[in-house]
Amino acid sequence: MDAPVLSGVEGPLLTIENLRTYFYSRAKRAFIRSVDGVSLSLARGETLGIVGESGSGKTVTALSAAGLVSAAPGVIGGSVELHSNGTRRKLLDGLDRYVRVKEHDGRVAEVEKDERGWRRHAETLMKGVRGKEIAMIFQNPRSALNPYSTIGNQLVETIRLHTSLRGGREAKECAIHWLERVRIDSPRLRFDNFPFGMSGGMCQRAMIAMALCAEPSLLIADEPTTGLDATIQSRIVELLAQLKAETGIATLLISHDISVIQRLSDRVAVMYGGTVVETGCATELLAPEAKLRHPYTAALLASIPSAETIRRKSYLQAIEGEVLDTIEVPRGCRFYGRCSRVTEAVRERCAGLEPPLAEVAPGHKLRCWLYPSAPSGAMHETRT
């Protein structure tokens, strides 16, 4: 089996450019702008953590990259490029001909999409990618596993589909090997267990084994610890950290739990209302003493009870208002309505014009009028 190649190819493993994924709300007769111009890149062996509240578009971004969005209109624009094992694949290549977007006043007003054409074409592009190159683990492991089949059989099925191992016995040995690698006790016995006979943590381990057994180059982990118990959560986080060290797999880690992101990520992207509002190195961006920070990131970090807050039994610093509803997206900054740091000097711009994602320090970008761009550099209109 070929191990993930770390050298030889240049450039990032995954590049998402200006991705747009919309859904249509019949009740409100409007688009839900779930992902509205997201650009991200992920280097080989890197873990990129995406944080944000529910409805900020974290999961939809990942599902779009894996070609798993099924509701209409779905992905309507952007590009996703996967650069693995020496081949460069454009996962949305040539799909734009199935979509006609009518813009009115600078925003999408109408979308015509040939759903069937898009689907057929997208599936051919995804062949040999999903499951093989891009694997996913989800929030609720028990619902992602087939309840009518033993976990051993499910693993063997994945192995025979995505690797060169075809024989039953070989595949079984490989499956048991993977159950061992995810630290499941007595893997030979567990091989014949059904998902209902295993605890949530154990199911998540089996899911991770299934995702990794094809040795993909990218793992998308969507809230891998949410819904598990505190003690189990820390063990799954521990396991993911170990597997990352062992296999060097690149991971797109989605979580609303900042402590998980902190523990596992090299870089972080903070999402709000369908856009990336800040990206940067995890240790710097989430460090308690960091000064340069998007007001939303700052508020999000402040709303987690700190040791100090608990000791003094003081109030939690809540973010006023509700999470942005991505149907009625405001003209200006998406966080404007809840932001506590708007000053008179920038108020007009905050309300009327969406700030660009500007580089404020090397490798650190944020979308806020308070920090227009790097002190030395000119203003960028870059979206990366």
């Binding site: 118990d229 063990r235 609303h256 009870p305 509700e322």
Partner: protein, 340 residues
């Protein structure tokens, strides 16, 4: 010192399941002791936090003390009155004094009713106020939970998670309860909204003199809101005491694991990290998970316990006759462990 509003003594709740033809014929049933001999009390205007892994019986305790489930044994005294054996009709007037906030945001919110109708229904369960009075109290409730009056015309499906939670709280407050069992009130919410709801619950306690039994697995939140914390493991309280003591000076090995598993995730907090690394090692040794169906003999935690391993597997831990009882280690801090 305020008097106790709820006194629970030796409470147990067993669920039995009958499986297969044999047990049907013989009447034998497998019994799951979801709660097994639990005692605690709540003083008026106090918050007691109940923590533990899922399946340890937290919610069952909450439901049983409100008599939403019938206890299999023990005594529940609410406000000086034994309510263990009261009939449904006798319970009815007491129900308005003890309410529950459910984990599920949609529980109790009829999807076909507008917020106004939901609150109106709650207000008219026990009283027959005039329409003007109802309207006045609905507005008062909305103000208490920081919701705009414009939301009164909305259906639950049109509300966000935080708003649903607020309506749920307003609905509970409508009957003017004294004791509220809050079962994971924040677990379904985002962090920023969580903070709003926690602040709201604390404000309401101050303003209305409420008493909370706060069930959660979110340890920092529990420490923040509670005066006392009880840690549960497999249907029993293994440690109980003042929130600070439980959080910073835990004695029971299970509490230590529970707290440091949190620290493991937050490896950046340096002071906690030293503790966290050691736990990871202990955890790995600890292996398996809690299982009701195969309860250990003696101490229930022994199979996962690091202390048990360190002490060279002493026989007293697995002795069928000696399950460790809660004993006082000072300052009202009680621990059920032979060695802690």
């Amino acid at each position: 010192m305020s008097r106790s509003i709820l006194d629970v003594t030796d409470l147990s709740k067993h669920y039995s399941q009958r499986r297969g033809l044999f047990s049907m014929l013989t009447g034998q049933a497998r019994v799951t002791p979801a709660v097994d001999g639990v005692s605690f009390y709540l003083r008026e205007n106090e918050t007691v936090g109940l923590v533990g892994e899922s399946g340890c019986g937290k919610t069952t305790i909450g439901r049983t003390v409100l008599r939403l489930a019938d206890p299999s044994g023990g005594r529940i005294v609410f406000d000086g009155r034994d309510i263990t054996k009261l009939s449904r009709a006798e319970m009815r007037p007491l129900r308005r004094e003890m309410q529950m906030i459910f984990q599920d945001l949609d529980a109790g919110l009829n999807p076909k009713m507008r917020v106004r109708a939901i609150l109106r229904e709650a207000l008219t369960v026990y009283e027959r106020p005039s329409d003007a009075e109802i309207e006045r109290r609905i507005r008062g409730l909305m103000q208490q939970v920081n919701l705009k009056d414009s939301k009164l015309a909305n259906f639950p499906a049109e509300l966000s998670g935080g708003e649903k939670r607020r309506v749920g709280i307003a609905r509970v407050l409508a009957v003017r309860p004294r004791l509220i069992v809050a079962d994971e009130p924040t677990s379904a919410l985002d962090v920023s909204i969580q903070a709003q709801v926690v602040n709201l619950l604390r404000d309401l306690q101050k303003d209305l003199g409420l008493t909370y039994l706060f069930i959660s697995h979110d340890l920092p939140i529990v420490e923040l809101v509670s005066q006392k914390v009880a840690v549960m493991y497999l249907g029993r309280i293994v440690e109980m005491g003042l929130a600070e003591d439980i959080a910073h000076r835990p004695r029971h090995p299970y509490t230590v694991i529970l707290w440091s598993s949190l620290a493991d995730k937050r490896s950046t907090e340096v002071s906690l990290r030293a503790r966290g690394g050691a736990t990871a090692q202990r955890e790995r040794r600890a292996g398996g998970v809690a299982d009701f169906e195969q309860p250990a003999t003696g101490c229930r935690f022994a199979p996962r316990c690091s202390l048990y391993q360190d002490k060279g597997r002493p026989a007293v831990c697995t002795d069928r006759a000696s399950e460790p009882q809660l004993r006082d280690v000072g300052n009202g801090h009680v621990v059920a462990c032979h060695f802690a």
